[in-house]
């Protein structure tokens, strides 16, 4: 019997291959976007974990100073002379090969941290290479690809085991790269043997470092928001995908209802029938899940290089550009598909279980039930929006932002059908002709069946408007900011301080002005940061983009009585004008201005050059910003190369620098844009499914209208109109929702995630384009049912009156 039942059930899909494809595709799409996001997150997180594991191997006790961040050489020696096997480590952040990196300097003679694949990339490597100048620097191929080669620097050795953004090298090389000669930041306490005495007695100034969880690392903390962002997008796509599944499963069940009734009437137990349906759904889910995973893997692999660029651009965090397949990811993806299918089919299965053996189909019945619940739905939606707002009070930071977003979006989605219902009721009241009245009434009747698809469309449109507004506002602000910030015409980097001096002498008669660009890498508010030293020049007084400034702020800077900080540092450390900032041991100045500094994850401060030189006398002098008379730049660059002998790549003109910055910016939002488009695509697909679902149920309603004289072509046109009108309504409602979303993104999420707040700009042309797209999608979704309708044999319509379906 099972076989017969299964054959009967499956025959449905044979007769409706399109429906089958829709179901599988919908599920696969939902799974794909969700698992793509998961794969990207997992890859990036694995990379952070790898970095953390390399910096602090698991189960490896580490001794750190009780105070400060330098292990006294005396303590290291005392431990060794007592017989303790300790291995010195010096680590820190710096720029190396033109790239921001974390340098991990280990004693290569005793370090427990050493990749074992070095022989692959450098089989000739010997002790002399490892331990004597210029030494070696072990980096991942990803990092190496971004680095400029330096013939005088340490030899680059590639290893897949070193995480991106980390340079593993000998401690002798590290102290030179970090300019921290003679310093040790921590000691690995190796398990080989014990000393004569307790180590705590030998070196009382040291303590065991608390074992760090991966999530506590700086990188993980910084990038959490980004991954949360991606996850939210993935979840949104998944939800939209489930709307498709729900629609299709509902349709299939609706169409199979006579068959199911027949099977029941033939004596198939309900339990068996249900079991067969569940097994059928599970099989479909598995098939779609596998398809979706494949698709998701493809999407993730395609997006990952851009994600890596984003993480680097926004947070300075390094993620690999390539993907590995992870078993937990596969299982979680399939699990999500199965759970999602179960969720989406629950309603249909429940209805089947309740199905009276001889009941006839009555979509109007659902509609009436839906109308009753409309009020509750509206109230529920309002409650959700309020809960989201309450969330901002209850939670801190990013979580509050996402609570607000979730409440707003889900609440609005719930409110949509009642609001649409209300709009349609008002429309119906104003309708004059009988046909118009029918159209309005018909729309209202269809609303419950379409509401899920319309919710999906609303969410996708709102997300699109919100994210689009955010990105465009950011771009506009960023471009203006670049114009201000890049005020010099030409930027030159030299090889040595002496060359800079020679260059200065050479340039003086030829240019309008020049400023040195000099900085130290240091720690600000407990995190890596930079302090720039500037000279009094109109370039700063007139152009520097300040968000807040004390009166006479620049005068105070040059009198060495104040400091400028970037917005990130000000927000992170909670600094306002007049607050003191610690710039080094025993050196603190009050904030006299806050400047915007987009695209930089680190804290930054600006002081007078003289003040910085007083603290860092050996500050390198290797960069100049130069202003030239209009039109003389190309000639000057040629002269610099031919007469002064400067390498071409030592010079960057303003236009190129701007172009590069903008390119980085665009790359940063490629992922957001891609996910945006994909979500909208899924929503369009959901709408199509909904129309197809309703199609069969609509015939009993269309037949009488046709019988009254309306042509099939006319009906088909009305069908198109109906779809477009609903989409237009959804869009009109999505607009304020999307703008609300953009506001939350710009003023809450961005501040938490990146450390800067952006002004919001409106882009009505973008809305028009999006609205057009939505209408087009709705029209396309209605084209198939409309075409079917216009070609439907009249006999079919006539039969409606004869059959009770």
């Amino acid at each position: 019997m099972i076989r017969a039942v299964a054959q009967a059930l499956l025959s449905h899909w044979r007769r409706h291959p399109g429906q089958f494809a829709t179901l599988v595709l919908g599920l696969a799409l939902a799974t794909a976007l969700w698992s793509a996001v998961q794969a990207i997150n997992a890859e990036a997180r694995a990379s952070y974990a790898q970095a953390a594991a390399l910096l602090t191997p698991q189960d490896q006790p580490v001794l750190v100073p009780r105070q400060g961040d330098v292990v006294a050489r005396g303590s290291y020696l005392a431990l060794r002379r007592d017989g303790w096997p300790v291995s010195a480590v010096l680590d820190g952040d710096t720029r190396f090969g033109g790239v921001s990196v974390t340098v991990m300097g280990v004693d290569m003679l005793s370090s427990p941290v050493m990749p074992d694949d070095l022989g692959d990339s450098a089989p000739d490597l010997g002790p002399v290479d490892l331990l004597t100048a210029p030494g070696i620097a072990i980096v991942s191929p990803d990092t190496a690809a971004r680095m400029q080669s330096d013939p005088d620097g340490p030899r680059l050795i590639l290893s897949e085991q070193v995480p991106p953004g980390i340079v593993l090298t000998d401690i002798a090389v590290a102290e030179a790269l970090l300019d921290r000669r003679g310093e040790i930041s921590r000691l690995f306490l190796l398990p080989d043997r014990q000393g004569r005495r307790d180590w705590a007695q030998v070196a009382p100034d040291l303590q065991l470092a608390p074992s760090r969880a991966v999530s506590d690392t700086d990188t993980a903390r910084l990038t959490d928001s980004f991954h949360l962002n991606l996850t939210a997008f993935g979840l949104l796509s998944f939800a939209v995908g489930l709307f498709i599944v729900q629609g299709t499963v509902g349709l299939a069940q609706e169409q199979r209802r006579p068959m199911l009734r027949t099977l029941r009437a033939l004596g198939v137990p309900l339990r068996l029938l249900m079991l067969c349906l569940v097994v059928e759904l599970a099989a479909l889910a598995l098939l779609a899940g596998v398809l979706g995973l494949g698709l998701g893997y493809g999407i993730a692999a395609a997006l990952l290089p851009d994600v890596a660029a984003t993480l680097r651009g926004l947070y300075g965090a390094d993620a690999p550009g390539s993907l590995t397949l992870r078993a937990p990811w596969v299982l979680a993806g399939l699990g999500m598909t199965l759970a999602g299918t179960a969720l989406a089919s629950l309603q249909s299965l429940w209805r089947l279980a309740q199905l009276p053996l001889l009941a006839s189909a009555s979509p109007q019945g659902w509609a009436r039930a839906a109308a009753r619940s409309a009020r509750w739905q509206a109230l529920g939606g309002l409650a959700l929006v309020l809960a989201g707002m309450l969330g901002t009070v209850l939670f801190d930071g990013l979580l509050a932002g996402f609570a607000l977003l979730a409440g707003l979006l889900m609440g609005a989605a719930l409110i949509l059908p009642p609001v649409l219902g209300q709009v349609l009721r008002i429309g119906a009241r104003r309708a004059r002709t009988p046909l118009a009245q029918w159209v309005w009434a018909d729309l209202r009747a269809q609303l419950p069946g379409l509401s899920l698809a319309l919710m999906a469309l609303l969410l996708a449109l709102a997300a699109n408007i919100g994210v689009g507004t955010m990105v465009s506002s950011f771009r506009l602000t960023f471009t203006g900011w670049l114009d201000q910030r890049l005020a010099s015409d030409l930027y030159i980097t030299t090889d040595s301080d002496a060359q800079t001096q020679a260059l200065r002498d050479w340039l003086t008669p030829r240019v309008d002005g020049m400023v040195p660009i000099r900085r130290v890498e240091t720690r600000l508010d407990g995190a890596p940061g930079r302090i720039y030293g500037v000279i009094d020049d109109p370039i700063y007084r007139e152009h520097w983009p300040l968000l807040a400034a004390a009166p006479m702020g620049w005068d105070q800077i040059f009198d060495q009585r104040g400091v400028l900080v970037n917005e990130q540092l000000a927000r992170r450390a909670g600094l306002g004008l007049g607050d003191p900032v610690e710039l080094g041991a025993g050196w603190s100045l009050p904030v006299v201005g806050i400047y915007s500094d987009y695209g930089n994850p680190e804290g930054q401060a600006i002081v007078a050059l003289d003040a910085l030189l007083a603290r860092h006398p050996d500050l390198p002098d290797r960069q100049l910003g130069v202003r030239v008379p209009d039109g003389t730049l190309p000639a000057l660059m040629d002269d610099l190369r031919d007469d002064f002998g400067l390498e071409r790549d030592a010079m960057v003109d303003q236009a190129t620098l701007k172009a590069v910055s903008l390119r980085v910016f665009e790359k940063t939002f490629v992922v957001t844009g891609a996910l945006n488009v994909l979500t909208l695509g899924v929503a369009g697909f959901a709408l199509l499914t909904a129309f197809l679902t309703l199609w069969t149920m609509r015939l009993p309603q269309l037949a009488p209208v046709w019988a009254m004289g309306l042509t099939r072509a006319h009906l088909a046109r009305l069908e198109l109109l109906r779809s477009v009108a609903l989409a237009a309504l959804a869009f009109v409602l999505a607009l304020p929702l999307g703008l609300g979303l953009a506001w939350v993104l710009l003023t809450v999420i961005n501040v938490q995630a990146f450390g800067w707040r952006l002004p919001m700009y409106l882009f009505p042309l973008d809305w028009l384009r999006l609205g057009g797209l939505a209408l087009l999608a709705a029209a396309l979704a209605a084209v198939i049912p409309a075409r079917r309708l216009s070609r439907l044999p009249p006999a079919h319509l006539l039969r409606i009156f004869a059959d009770d379906r």
Binding site: L77, P127, G182
Partner: protein, 359 residues
């Protein structure tokens, strides 16, 4: 992985007696092709300066071996070795500071009993202070192992030493008192290592009386005995065709002593040595004057190692068999080799130490 890397770090030049062959004709310049100083026949030893390190040479060692007995007459051997290996030339005038120093220090310690051989190893970088040798007051150390001079101002710094080392399963704490002068091998300390003329600076203190205690298996054992210290430095790596060497330091009951070694190669090899009279008078032994013949082999660490030898020195009417106290005296260190105490029988009775590499 770590062990492999250490082996790889030390594979180049840290082994003793790494002399011989392939003279490249730079000897006259005083430095070899890579900028290291080369031993000179006219070098005049000055102490305590020459007890300390010579960082401009590639390799150098402070090497103590001792034959000890406890109150019950049970025999033991101890070894204490500190090697210095320079990865790049460095002059004494400009010692490499901090981690940039090219000096690598390696130390081996062993305690040999009839049925057990305890081994330990230490590794450190120069320039930091975890290991080194200083001349006044003389001290050679690496981590918690040390050889410290306790000699008075009128004595040679090496006349009275305090020697300590510690492994995971043994340790020793010994006092060494010299009862004779320093002796100089070869031509007044210029010791030729190959027919091509390559050489090292090589002197010894073979006259130590030892008292102290050794610890193993939770026991503390009082011991007395004799010890022998070798000092040697050079810059020349082992030639490609030299497979290893056999080195003997033997003390006869008559009070005479013999240092002899042979460098094995594809052909006849190269032998050299010194006959040391009880008063310290030293006579060099030439390549053709001495014979060293393996008599029996033992399976050690999967290798076939000769642990019983016949030594013949016709000029001194010497013909002895040399037998290992413990044939399993294998130094399972990053560069493994055999080293242990030996007993002598035949024309002369006595005891000594044997080192064998390249098996």
């Amino acid at each position: 992985m770590t062990v492999d890397r250490r082996r790889f770090v030390l594979g180049l030049g840290a082994l003793p007696l790494a002399g011989a062959a392939q003279a490249q004709g730079f000897a006259g310049l005083g430095t070899d092709a890579e900028g290291f100083a080369l031993p000179a026949r006219d070098h005049r030893f000055v102490f305590p300066r020459d007890h300390a390190a010579h960082p401009d040479f590639r390799i150098e060692w402070w090497y103590v071996t001792g034959n000890l007995t406890d109150a019950q007459g049970v025999g033991y051997g101890i070894q204490w070795t500190l090697f210095r290996s320079a990865l790049a030339p460095e002059t004494t005038a400009q010692p490499g500071d901090g981690w940039t120093s090219p000096q690598i220090w390696l130390a081996h310690a062993a305690l040999t009993r009839g049925d057990h051989h305890h081994v330990a190893e230490r590794l450190a970088r120069g320039g930091i202070g975890a290991a080194g040798v200083r001349s006044a007051p003389f001290a050679a150390w690496i981590d918690d192992w040390a050889m410290l001079s306790q000699a008075g101002p009128e004595q040679d710094a090496l006349d009275l030493l305090h020697l300590t080392a510690r492994g995971s399963d043994f340790s020793y704490d010994l006092g060494l008192r010299a009862e004779g002068p320093l002796i100089f091998h070869g031509d007044a300390g210029y010791s030729v290592k190959s027919p091509a003329g390559q050489a090292s600076h090589y002197y010894s203190q073979p006259f130590y009386q030892v008292t102290g205690e050794i610890r193993f298996d939770g026991q503390v054992v009082e011991v007395i005995g004799h010890a022998w210290l070798d000092r040697e430095w050079s810059s020349q790596p082992l030639a490609g065709d030299q497979s290893g060497w056999d080195w003997f330091s033997l003390s006869f009951d008559s009070g005479d002593k013999l240092m002899a070694f042979q460098l094995r190669d594809d052909g006849d090899g190269f032998r050299s040595g010194s006959w040391i009279a009880p008063d310290g008078h030293t006579t060099p032994i030439g390549d053709r004057d001495i014979r060293m013949t393996p008599l029996d082999h033992s399976r050690v660490d999967g290798r076939r190692v000769p642990t019983r030898w016949q030594i013949d020195l016709p000029a001194r009417e010497l013909s002895v068999t040399v037998t290992a106290l413990n044939p399993q005296s294998w130094m399972a260190t990053s560069v493994p080799y055999w080293e242990g105490p030996v007993r002598l029988k035949g024309s002369h009775a006595g005891q000594g130490y044997l080192e064998m590499t390249g098996y």
